[in-house]
Symmetry: C2
Subunit: 263 residues, 2 copies
């Protein structure tokens, strides 16, 4: 089953439209997004960390990430897991983590080069990590993320272009450049990349269709669905407090019971 889902996940990067990946942070959100019919589901490290009460991108949620990875077996579509920086700086250690989530049935992973101190990881070392992961789990889709734009480094475009080339040479199956927004920058990355390019959806920015016309093959929602969930939680409670009607369409208790099943 995992092999089929991995092949399917790879194919989804070469469809007529970009692959739109909604991001879950716990089992319920993963099941709900899969149930809603999305072709694949990914995860948001901000959501996973915040749900556990910890800061994002600090490598502190390995246990939660491994638990969430097991949801792969419960959904029919491919599931891709954000591994932040890989929960370690040693290639063999990151490969161990990748192997564990692969054994749980996930179809792909994200590995980012942004580090906790706001700098980018050493490029050679990051390439060694990607290579080690691909050697260990060849059919796992490795989406290599560069945080050149996200962390606002000097010359983000040049930095991103240099990094995605190295990542692809190291075996990455795709590259992810979150926070890239300008059409010219996106075109430059797409033009240079030998593997499918993933960008983050930015509210008010390009639509998925427009990104597809620029050559983007995958669009992630990142933490947006998680943040929308928190917003709805607070707004619902405020509406009740104010004596106002709550929004329609909210699933009932029995709908959730059915969604989760026997666990």
């Amino acid at each position: 089953v995992s092999a089929e889902k991995r092949a399917e996940f790879r194919r989804l990067h070469h469809g007529s439209e970009p692959l739109l990946l909604p991001n879950a942070w716990d089992v319920a959100s993963a099941l709900a997004l899969a149930d809603a019919g999305f072709a694949a589901v990914a995860t948001t490290s901000l959501g996973v960390a915040a749900a556990a009460g910890r800061p994002d991108a600090t490598g502190s949620t390995l246990a939660e990430t491994l638990r969430l990875a097991r949801t792969a077996e419960r959904i029919s579509c491919p599931f891709s897991i954000d591994l932040e920086g890989g929960f370690g700086s040693e290639p063999a250690g990151v490969a161990d983590v990748a192997e564990r989530v692969a054994e749980a049935g996930v179809a792909g992973i994200n590995l980012e080069d942004g580090r906790q101190d706001g700098t980018l990881a050493d490029l050679d070392r990051q390439a060694e990590i990607i290579q080690a992961v691909k050697e260990r789990v060849p059919d796992l889709f490795v989406n290599a993320r560069t945080d050149a734009f996200w962390l606002k480094v000097d010359n983000p475009l040049e930095t991103a272009l240099a990094r995605i080339s190295v990542f692809a040479q190291a075996g990455a199956d795709g590259v992810f450049v979150p926070a890239i927004a300008d059409e010219a920058d996106i075109r430059a990355v797409v033009g240079r990349s030998t593997v499918p390019v993933n960008v983050l959806y930015l509210p008010g920015g390009h639509t998925v269709a427009a990104l597809g016309e620029l050559g983007v093959r995958r669009v992630s929602l990142g933490s947006l669905p998680f943040r929308a969930a928190l917003h709805a939680t607070v707004q619902t409670a405020r509406a009740v407090a104010a004596g106002e009607a709550v929004e329609g369409g909210i699933p009932g208790y029995d709908d959730i019971v059915q969604l989760i099943g026997e666990g």
Copy 2:
């Protein structure tokens, strides 16, 4: 600090308006609801269980519930934890669990008499459990829930009235009758109870103000905020897929980083 919050939580059951309790299921939702200014925050066992991918009310989320209880130290308002049936059927065992969440700083707990097979727990045993908890942690607010209406037993009103009397005699600080909806039933429960009465908010039913006029002292949102969150997650992803604008007011990445803090 715990003692002050417990005294404050008790006082909130005797204000001019009913205490409106929004229910969280993870650290992020608890922090967001506290940050939004609600006087106190509670938890939803459906949400806690679903987030972990397990069925509600089956006593399978003790670890998650204990972890969530520790959020009490991170919020300035009182925090009340749903313990389902108490994660055990022995009074001493339930008292152990209550003591552990009390040590984490929570102000109150919910203990329900509905059992996994859809029946109500033995009434004498349930009274022993409440008594054991109150002896162990006297200042913890014990909200004793009867599922007579929730489980649609025969003669739910008579059953509920009999049970809340026993619960209050056993030391319960409040009684909770979820799924009660008819004005006459609510008036009957309020008229009989010697302790504050808690009901579940039902969308389209009585407003919080109307419930206050009926004598209700506490209104819980139950799993509604959690279900609203899941709904918003799916709707947000669908809006992006359809090229539509996402809802306004959603907090940004940095807002969540600030909400969670250093963990």
